[in-house]
Amino acid sequence: MITIDRVSKTKSRTQILYDVSFEARPGRVTGFLGPNGAGKTSTLRILLGLDRPQSGTALICGRPYRKLDRPLTTVGALLDGSGAHRARKARAHLRWVAASNGLPDSRVDEVLEIVGLTGAARKRAGRFSLGMSRRLGLATALLGDPEVLVLDEPVNGLDPAGIRWIREFLKDSAAQGRTVLLSSHLMGELAEIADDVIVIDKGRVVIQGRLAEVTGGHRTLEDAFLALTAADSGGSW
């Protein structure tokens, strides 16, 4: 369960989030949709305790991220890039992350297997393709077998097979009762897997609800999205 409650954030004197509130519930895939620069990543970074909001709270299972002990066993997060130092071998990266949360080394080989990187375990992260970097990031997120997954633009850089794989993986995770929150600027992608959708634009949540509710009278999520955000954006993408 993820609860974001009236989160506001100002960065370099510019307000980038205005009273953002939403929930992501267990057993459902929640899509966080918005154009680039709308505030998706900023919201997720606050949720993960990386940045501080000016006001409001972001809770995971009722607790702020910074208060979680061994957080990887509760939350798996995928942000930009692989998250690994480029000179480090994939396996070495996963091994230190595992050690930091008291997870056994055997789990490292398991997650490498899950994301299909077993063959690249001894390769340095800096030599990875974009798709492999995303897989390594995902492997890191899965280390603690968490009940909550927070993924920022997870399909970026993945090939069609990778996209299909992650789609199935996230659906399965939600079916097993996990909370899945993923951001994307690709509406088609979200329409495929999201149960609930939150649309954010210029730092404000413009609509949220079940996929069908958000799509409303519009033919597709894309139409709904454009109608909701087109008022004065002039097509920033």
């Binding site: 940045d51 990887l72 949360n101 800096g126």
Partner: protein, 250 residues
């Protein structure tokens, strides 16, 4: 906490640059003792060197590049871009999602660095002093344990100094360049001692007083005072770096 220190040790040893720091730092001093042996022997015979009490200890200064590299990369590796595909992404994101309590994280990092550098200093000091003993045994005797401990402390504090500065700058290139030039090429701190006696209290200059006897030095400072002054420098910089690390967004 043990698990966090273990993770930081794994993290450090997974970096090729750390091994450069470990190997260079450990081998430099003994190697210099060895290479300088013919010159030292001649100088002793000719009577130009009469006080041999610093033999084997003075050479430890050149190995300091090791702890400097280790101290800097302990922090700078967190801020290095993970690659051209995502220039803004850094390992620090992974670190803080794994260990969100920043105070505990810094404590673990500091502990890991101290363990590694103190062990490295103990090994290299033993090696350099044993070599000096073997090569010039007639003219030198093993220094008191307190002096060796002073040298190990100097190494550890130097690593922490580099680490604290990098916490403030969040980039390794500037502090590493400055520290290496200052210690190995032109010592700005040493030049300053020619201008004002106060420069004798700069951390790198005063710290050497903990274990060296014969260095050219403007004011008399006891080893204990020297240790306290250098520790105060390191504590102050660590405090500033720690507060900044705690407050900044990633």
């Amino acid at each position: 906490m043990v698990r966090l220190v273990r993770a930081e040790l794994r993290k450090l040893f997974g970096l090729p640059t750390a091994w450069v720091g470990l190997v260079l730092g450990t081998l430099a001093a003994p190697l210099i003792v060895l290479l300088n042996a013919p010159y030292t022997r001649r100088a002793i015979a000719a009577g130009t060197v009469t006080d041999t009490s610093d033999l084997g200890l003075r050479e430890l200064g050149l190995g300091l590049i090791g702890p400097m590299i280790l101290g800097v990369i302990m922090v700078s590796s967190e801020y290095t871009s993970t690659g051209p595909d995502s220039p803004g992404a850094r390992q620090l994101t992974t670190t803080l999602t794994a260990v969100p309590d920043r105070r505990r994280l810094l404590t673990a990092k500091t502990t890991a660095l101290v363990l590694v550098v103190a062990a490295q200093a103990a090994v290299t000091a033993t090696a350099a002093l044993s070599l000096a003993e073997v090569l010039h045994g007639d003219h030198t005797s093993m220094p008191a344990a307190a002096r060796v401990a002073g040298a190990i402390l100097y190494w550890t504090l130097t690593a922490l100094l580099a680490y604290a500065i990098t916490l403030i700058t969040r980039n390794g290139i500037v502090p590493l360049t400055f520290l290496i030039i200052n210690s190995a090429v032109v010592s700005v701190s040493y030049l300053l001692t020619k201008v004002t006696d106060l420069a004798a209290y700069l951390p790198d200059i005063v710290g050497a007083r903990m274990f060296l006897r014969t260095a050219d030095f403007p004011v008399e400072i006891s080893p204990l005072t020297a240790g306290l002054v250098m520790t105060a420098w390191v504590a102050a910089l660590l405090a500033v770096g720690g507060v900044l690390f705690h407050r900044r967004d990633v």
